[in-house]
Symmetry: C2
Subunit: 620 residues, 2 copies
């Protein structure tokens, strides 16, 4: 028996208001596992370099993994995959909460949405029964308010994933939100805009079917072995959330400040970190399903200008981008901004990035008060930040339209000289980790398949504290070291592909999880008998497949770079020597110097068939 394998997929065609159930072959799921890995294969076959991300043909794929729905801690996750309207290339976003867990228990492993509804709809799935329901009365309602309304219409125990006004307006920074005010977010790459383009307000799921496990006893044993360690190791992380360490990040010049320009800001970091949050507005914490860490913050603001804020508190990335990047040191204002982004369905990372960009353009006189309709976009102006979030979500005014496209397109619109402080890679704004602080982060940002991303390599963790002996990382790789960084980064990217396809939270690493545990759990769930190397080979296949996808979209070495500011403006002692690292990285990956996987490598990874769809010229 093949246990919790991802393979029954619901294919919904919104143009035709029809759906069908597709069984994926065992070969397919063995080769691509699930989550964003399996979705990569589907997207690769369903689209090409010319597909319009906001057109009818672009599929929006929700996919769980073999771990989803099981008792494995931090496994209640799913991937959302599509072609990104923000970047024009590969998009994946990994999200926790309980939606993926619940979807799995409806009997479906994933959902592929194609076409466009004529009028707003939502999809309601209960234990294998599917309904496409009218959502005209729900259009415009924010994601926190929508959650109870939709439960009322469907099932009090249903779980909702949905878009807010930003997604409805096809703002390119839009996210897809789950779990109402206990927000869990598929934030990156503008996937909310794809959902909005399909006029799909929400997907609501409720299930109580058992998830098949090949060897449930073995799995229980494994979980009993790892779970207590995880809970212990990640205790402080649970206590203060993702933002507990901000002062440390600031000190090592990893925390972003003033659009990546300023070196230090200790007084700011002191006011907006997770410990301060715990002392002030924190009311509790929340866990994703099956999680034993609980990094989610529950907050409430009861007085002052931001009274009324209640629910999910800001995470590290949000504080870094809406806070540090904009030089805003008011934690309550950041919490308000975070809630606005959640309610409207905006990626806080990209939104903070584009606001900081606007503040710098304002400082330089490239944007003036006529452009902003009177708003003073000065550094640290929290009110301006909140107004801009509203404008972006509502596509309102010149500022809303300009910034809602993201920094790359905004910079193109504003013209010359501005590229220098448009901080993105391949069109995706930076998360809150400085590539000058970690050479591995520099290389990850430059090469990650979805653009500037700290999670597709998670190198900073392994450059600071963690190890993964099974892939040769016996101790943390010194962060400013150049030598070996290419191999180190490539291996971690392959490993992260496994997290994203099995569906396991990367914070499990903080809990001490190792590859062997993942392999053991995978074997227990599926009844297979793989070795660590087998899984790593799949990870490598997935990484290369996503790269091939991007190659078809026109990506090559020229795009594997960082904005000039990060390569030439010093912050601390280090400036990443990207050329040297890229050379090592390509060599280790067996990609040619244009950044194209070699035919030899693709053959080795059993991707010959996929490679046939790439023009010959790329390979020589």
């Amino acid at each position: 028996m093949l246990g919790g394998y991802t393979r029954k997929v619901l294919l919904v065609n919104l143009s035709k208001k029809k759906y069908e159930i597709k069984e994926l072959s065992e070969t397919l799921v063995k080769r691509y596992i699930g989550g964003s890995g399996l979705a990569a294969k589907l997207l690769y076959d369903l689209t090409d370099g010319t597909t319009d991300p906001l057109g009818e043909d672009n599929p929006l794929i929700f996919m769980t993994g073999p771990f989803t729905g099981t008792i494995i801690p931090t496994s209640a996750r799913h991937a959302v995959v599509s072609k990104s309207p923000l970047t024009g290339i590969w998009a994946e976003s990994d999200v926790g909460g309980s939606w993926g867990y619940e979807l799995k228990r409806t009997g479906f492993d994933g959902i592929i949405i194609i076409g466009k509804a004529e009028k707003p709809v939502y999809i309601w799935i209960k234990n294998g029964e599917v309904e496409i329901k009218d959502a005209q009365h729900l259009w415009g309602i924010d994601t926190y308010d929508l959650d109870p309304l939709i439960k009322e219409e469907t099932d009090p125990k249903a779980v909702v994933t949905c878009i807010g006004r930003a997604g409805e307006n096809q703002v390119l920074l839009s996210s897809i939100m789950s779990d109402g005010a206990n927000a869990r977010v598929a934030g990156r790459c503008g996937l909310g805009a794809v959902m909005g383009s399909k006029k799909l307000k929400a997907i609501v799921v409720r299930g109580n079917q058992e998830v098949p496990i090949a060897n449930p006893k073995e799995l229980k044993k494994l979980v009993r072995q790892y779970a207590p360690i995880m809970a212990k190791e990640a205790k402080m992380f649970g206590k203060y959330g993702t933002s507990g360490g901000i002062e440390g990040h600031e000190e090592m010049m990893n925390f972003p400040i003033k659009n990546w320009y300023q070196e230090r800001w200790p007084e700011g970091a002191k006011r907006i970190n997770g410990i301060r949050m715990a002392e002030t507005i924190l009311t509790g914490r929340y866990y994703c399903k099956t999680c034993i860490i609980g990094c989610g913050r529950e907050i409430e603001i009861t007085k002052g200008p931001y009274a009324g804020v209640k629910g999910a508190g800001p995470e590290y990335e949000t504080i870094g981008t809406l806070g540090g990047l904009c030089l805003i040191d008011n934690l309550e204002a950041i919490a308000k901004g975070s809630e606005l982004c959640n309610r409207y369905g905006l990626d806080t990372i990209s939104t903070g990035g584009v606001i900081a960009f606007a503040m710098e353009a304002y400082e330089k006189g490239i944007i003036n008060q006529i452009d902003t309709e009177g708003l003073k976009l000065t550094w640290g102006n929290a009110e301006a930040m909140l107004v801009l979030i509203e404008k972006i979500a509502k596509k309102e005014g010149y500022m809303g339209r300009l910034l809602g496209q993201g920094v790359r397109k905004a910079a193109e619109t504003l013209g010359q000289g501005v590229e220098e402080f448009a901080i993105h890679v391949k069109g995706l704004e930076f998360p809150a980790h400085d590539p000058r602080a970690y050479n591995g982060v520099a290389l990850s940002y430059a090469t990650s398949n979805r653009g500037a991303c700290h999670l597709q390599g998670f190198t900073h963790g392994f450059e600071k504290s963690f190890t993964m002996p099974e892939i040769g990382i016996n101790q943390p790789h010194p962060r400013h070291q150049i030598e070996g960084k290419g191999e180190f980064t490539a291996k971690l990217q392959d490993l992260m592909c496994l997290f994203d396809s099995l569906k396991l939270c990367k914070f499990a690493i903080i809990g001490g999880i190792k590859l062997t545990a993942m392999t053991d759990c995978y074997n227990a769930v599926t009844g297979l008998n793989l070795k660590n190397e087998d899984l790593m080979k799949i990870g490598e296949r997935l990484y290369n497949l996503k790269r091939l996808y991007n190659v078809r979209c026109g990506i090559s070495r020229k795009d594997d770079t960082l904005p000039p500011r990060l390569l030439t403006h010093k912050r601390g002692p280090n400036l990443p020597h990207l050329g040297k690292m890229l050379n090592d990285y390509y060599t280790f990956r067996n990609w040619n110097e244009r950044g194209i996987p070699s035919r030899e490598k693709l053959k080795e990874l059993d991707l010959d068939k996929e490679a046939q769809r790439i023009k010959d010229q790329y390979f020589i």
Copy 2:
């Protein structure tokens, strides 16, 4: 008395068929000296970022310097300056021979051509008398054949600078040629196309006026002191010409091979170097006026497929680009290619670069035999190289039209993936020095005002053998060293601005010339009493003014880079850490991180007025 100062300028309006004589103020010439420095100021005031390089408004400026026309060795030079049609930015090209010397002796220090003639014309200047003459009968005649024809029409001792068919056809790689078959070339930046756009076939000069010298005795004394040293130091250079050292260049991986991809090619270098030339086709050498080095090669091929080639032999750069870059190891074929380029008026550097690019595109299947009309563009195919030169010059067929635009535009035309081997900076193809061999060359290529250029910094010389104690270069700067390379490169660029405005050949450095000698000569010629520091400050002013010009054309940090191949593909041990060097370079220059000179620096350099024409936003 202000001696050999550059200040009487002929302004010719070809649209109106009129000319006038302009006296430039003493202040102006004191601030900008002459040559490309003074021309920079004129170009800065006469054009802006929107000027069409091939339009009526773009001036084509020929400018001598205070040394031109004097007895100072290697001073018989002039600069050609305009806005480049190849790159869209600052263009200067420095050229020897005897034309500048002769122009100076007509009484004019420079010529500014504006407007466009209706039908082909040439300008004939004899001792202050100016004629705009019909050239319809000369249109289409090559530059070697034109020289005697025009002398017949004017004066047997006249000196001609002219364009060939490439310039007439406004091919963007066109050069401006002087001295007939003893060719001296203003090769870079496509200035021949500007001349062609004005329908100006030639400028012919003849003069016997004395060039005023403030302190002729002192100048004679200085020349007697320096000339013998120079002759001795540069002896081998004279003997074997610029290409004598090719085997050494190949060994240190400076000589370009196979479009900058291949590491070593000793067997090729053995067949195409200056010593081999001396043993085979060399018949003599020629000198620019006042030169005591004599690097010019006179060659003749009397048998075999290239019989008939006679006149100027190929230089180092030509052998590097038509030879090494294309993997062509047939010296006679290279000599034939060189002659074709000279006769048609094509820059051999850019032409070789674009042919190598085409060969790589052919290898990769991006260009096929249908595109080439049957031509096999295989590496090392000398016949293909010669055919392409013809096609480019004549703008013939798809290949001619595609490649005549230079590699940047050709790559844009061909589309994605191709940028990776389009080797240029700011649109200008690389000369034959590898930036991986010298970090200073890497930084020079990335920052030079006219694009990829080895002469605007001449750093390789000072990273290998030369010193310039007056500016702190007491010994050669180790070529793979990063530390101090920013300051080193910036200072040399400022110094080279002096060479290019005083008008002194950079090979005088091989002859051991030092800044003090230049200052002494300048004082002797002009009667001024400047110190080395005063001259260096002017050099810095000129460099910054040219940068400001480019800023107005949209240039910023994003353009100060190298093609990916040079940053990531290893050749030998070194990959230049460009980010770090640029950071040091900008800091030393007091430019902001976007590569814009700071207001403070511009004030210090007395460029406030010029800076006013730059938008505020650039400075913050």
